[in-house]
């Protein structure tokens, strides 16, 4: 008898163990459904978006909704989302997806709600066309996400370094002097000669700035690799490696601690191809460098770097509530707030004509008319097709650039090796 009792207890324990994972989820849902009808929305965010402030505001207006913001690194959020989508469990109610990853998740669009079913079509006209299309299926029926910010590129620069180099410090004068990439090259030589500092510190930034201006990048609309036939990427690579070999570009990799502290030190002249969301990064890395930074138009027309979307995975039990929240969060008025709070540049062109918006200047950036410069940049962005395997090509080209910059490798050999590695890798996809 005793044995039976212990066995039954044991089996019960075992069952509890096995049911553990489901259990916690069930009680979670139970809570959100039961406690005064409060709907809980888990919201994954990366970058310094500042959505927590707006979410507070929304929760005050909608006491029946509770939004749990989970902030993480961009790569981690995408990895976690990928894993949970692939496994069919663990995804949040709302997730941020960056533009370089959106094509990948579009392949699994059966795992997301079609926002058109919840009224996305009605707000489509609020957003820039090219931005809207990035999160749309080819046939246009499926809308994966609503646009957050965009990243029209500009040129951030250190006024102190420019002054030392004998270059203009006023945004308009500097833009007039550095009006094309040859002029940028000349300025780089001048900065190097007068101050001994590189014009920019990261090979990747230099390369991306040029690449983002191109009408086509790594893949064509059929997802075929075009870097060998299309001139633009190779031109960007050649220009970058030439500046590297002349010692005009530093060796820092993006997002490293050294890269961050260089922003505070002023050990280079320009942060080239920097989009609006970079403002928060600069201020975060160099809180005391206010007034030493300014920004102006990038030579030869802006590109777009980054910007994200908010999507609702199929696992969410409250798609309507989630949609209502993101439609509110990404409305023109609130995008304007995100711009003022965290520098996220609106993807809603109506805002660009707003007088108050255009008058925005930033004390940190030496009172440069930031909104006006970004708005002008945004107008010249051309829509490009990034493709599902964008990051594979990107990683290999950055590796080649790093080898040239740090190891002094031969640029053409590195290019050829990178192209070969890219092709090998693409064959496996």
């Amino acid at each position: 008898m005793k044995k039976w009792i212990s066995m039954i207890v044991f089996a019960a324990l075992l069952l509890m163990l096995a049911a553990c994972s489901d259990d916690s989820k069930a009680s979670d849902d139970g809570e959100s459904g039961a406690s005064g009808g409060k709907v809980e929305l888990d919201f994954w965010v990366f970058g310094s978006a500042g959505y927590d402030v707006l979410a507070e505001e929304y929760m005050e207006e909608h006491p029946d909704v509770k939004i749990n913001i989970n902030e993480g690194e961009m790569a981690d959020i995408h990895n976690n989302l990928f894993t949970s989508i692939s496994a069919g469990s663990g995804a949040p109610d709302i997730t941020m997806i960056e533009v370089s990853e959106i094509a990948k998740f579009m392949q699994a669009n059966d795992q997301f709600y079609n926002l058109n079913d919840y009224g996305a079509k009605d707000v489509q006209d609020n957003y820039l066309d090219w931005k809207w299309q990035q999160a749309q299926s080819v046939d246009g029926d499926f809308q994966l996400g609503l646009p957050t910010d965009i990243g029209p590129t500009t040129m951030f620069y250190r006024t102190d370094v420019m002054e030392e180099a004998g270059l203009p410090t006023d945004p308009e004068e500097l833009a007039a002097q550095i009006n094309d990439w040859d002029a940028y090259h000349e300025a780089a030589k001048q900065v190097k000669e007068k101050t001994g500092k590189p014009i920019t510190d990261s090979p990747e930034l230099m390369f991306s700035a040029l690449r983002d201006q191109a009408p086509e990048q790594y893949f064509n609309e059929e997802n075929e690799l075009i870097i060998e036939t299309s001139p633009y990427v190779k031109e960007a690579y050649d220009y970058t490696t030439q500046l590297i070999e002349e010692g005009l570009v530093g060796q820092n990799s993006l997002w490293t601690p050294e890269w961050g502290s260089a922003m505070a030190d002023g050990s280079y002249a320009t942060l080239i191809g920097a989009p609006a969301w970079m403002i928060a990064n600069v201020k975060g890395n160099a809180p005391d460098a206010g007034g030493n930074w300014s920004l102006t138009t990038i030579p030869e027309g802006a590109g777009n770097w980054g910007g994200s979307f908010l999507a609702i995975p199929k696992e969410s039990d409250h798609p309507q509530e989630a949609y209502d929240f993101i439609e509110w969060l990404l409305s023109p008025e609130n995008q304007l707030k995100s711009f003022h709070n965290n520098g996220l540049f609106p993807s809603t062109p109506a805002v660009y004509e707003d007088e108050e918006f255009l008058a925005t200047s930033d004390e940190y950036f030496s009172d440069a008319p930031t909104a006006k410069i970004f708005a002008e940049a945004a107008q010249s962005v051309q829509p490009i097709h990034m493709g599902v395997n964008y990051s594979i090509v990107q990683d290999e080209l950055i590796l080649a650039l790093t080898n040239v910059a740090v190891e002094g490798a031969d640029p053409q050999k590195e290019w050829d090796a990178a192209v070969k590695r890219i092709k090998d890798q693409l064959a496996r996809q």
Binding site: M1, K3, W4, I5, M7, I8, F10, A11, L14, L17, A18, A75, N79, F82, I85, S86, K104, F105, Q107, A108, Q111, Q251, S253, T256, E258, S391, I392, D395, I398, L399, T402, N403, V406, E407, R421, D424, Q425, A427, R428, Q429
Partner: protein
């Protein structure tokens, strides 16, 4: 608690052959032996159930995945042996294998040698504050690998202000590109491995040393053996099983080296420091090619079997 008598269903289904009125009948008619067996299986079941879910299933699934083309989200596509061809024809895979062996050798061999020496020193009667030394030598093993890799990443910084480069410059050598040069990366990673595991091996050796009876040494001393002879003819032979154990563990550990290079190199996965497991990880979670990643895992599995067999072969010979 269970009331078996009032369950007529069970009774009618399992009509006992020899009903003994004194004994309470069980609802399931199991013999004592079967019951013992069942309870035995139940006792060990938690491990096996968890193992089946988190160990066995992924293993079998990766064998299946090795023959598929899959990006994790879309449909799988059967491609036969193509994944294996891709991996085996990839120079970076062979580079990663070479790296693994090289880092394994320069990270592990000195570890075992110095481990023995340290253990001998700790075991000798000459040293005071023995337990302090023992604890401090074991400390690195308790630290988190990620934390170690981050701290070493700062020390082995490419720039002139990195600690190792400061020391190098001070000694009159040129700065080394620890993050990107062929040997710089390997040395940096090997140093991390060495630092973290040397204490672990020392403690194992120390335990082995303390298991050697003192009378052997006393007898040797009476016969006039020198300290060198004592080590050569008593300590090393008596330590043999322990040495074999540490060699086994270190070999397996070296083949699975992952966290240190991942944190040290970041997501650049540079060729100089990529190990087999890192190659596998890159395939799966950076390039989203789960087919080739699984194929790599299977190849690694075969390599470990071969290495273990070689190990067993040699240790058997040493034992005789």
């Amino acid at each position: 608690m269970a009331q078996p008598q009032i369950q007529p269903d069970a009774d009618t289904k399992h009509e006992p052959v020899k009903p003994s009125p004194k004994k309470k009948r069980s609802p399931f008619h199991f013999s004592e032996k079967t019951k013992d067996a069942i309870s035995g299986y139940l006792y060990i079941s938690p491990f096996y159930i968890l193992f089946a879910i988190f160990g066995l299933f992924p293993m079998l699934f990766s064998f299946y995945l090795g023959f598929q083309k899959w990006n994790g989200l879309g449909e799988m596509e059967y491609v036969g042996l193509q994944n294996f061809k891709f991996v085996l024809a990839d120079p970076i895979f062979w580079k990663s294998l070479l790296n693994t062996v090289v880092i394994g050798v320069i990270g592990t061999l000195p570890q075992l040698l110095i481990g023995i020496i340290l253990a001998y020193a700790l075991n000798s009667a000459l040293i005071r504050f023995k337990s302090v030394f023992r604890v401090s030598i074991f400390m690195p093993y308790v630290t988190s690998t990620v934390a170690v890799a981050i701290v070493f990443g700062v020390m082995f910084n490419n720039q002139d202000f990195g600690l190792m480069n400061v020391v190098f410059n001070w000694l009159g050598f040129d700065s080394v590109n620890w993050g990107t040069s062929e040997w710089g990366v390997k040395l940096a990673i090997s140093t991390m491995v060495f630092w973290r595991w040397v204490g672990y091996n020392t403690i194992i050796y120390l335990a082995g040393l303390q298991g050697i009876p003192n009378d052997l040494y006393e007898a040797a001393k009476i016969d006039g053996a020198s300290i060198r002879q004592q080590i050569q003819y008593i300590t090393i032979p008596m330590l043999k099983p322990i040495i074999i154990l540490t060699v086994f563990l270190s070999t397996i550990g070296a083949m699975q080296l992952f966290t240190e290079p991942l944190v040290f190199l970041g997501r650049s996965f540079r060729e100089e420091g990529i190990t087999v497991v890192l190659y596998l990880y890159r395939e799966a979670f950076s390039n989203m090619a789960f087919g080739t990643a699984s194929a790599t895992a299977i190849i690694l599995f075969v390599i470990i079997i071969v290495l273990s067999s070689i190990n067993v072969f040699f240790t058997n010979r040493i034992g005789k």
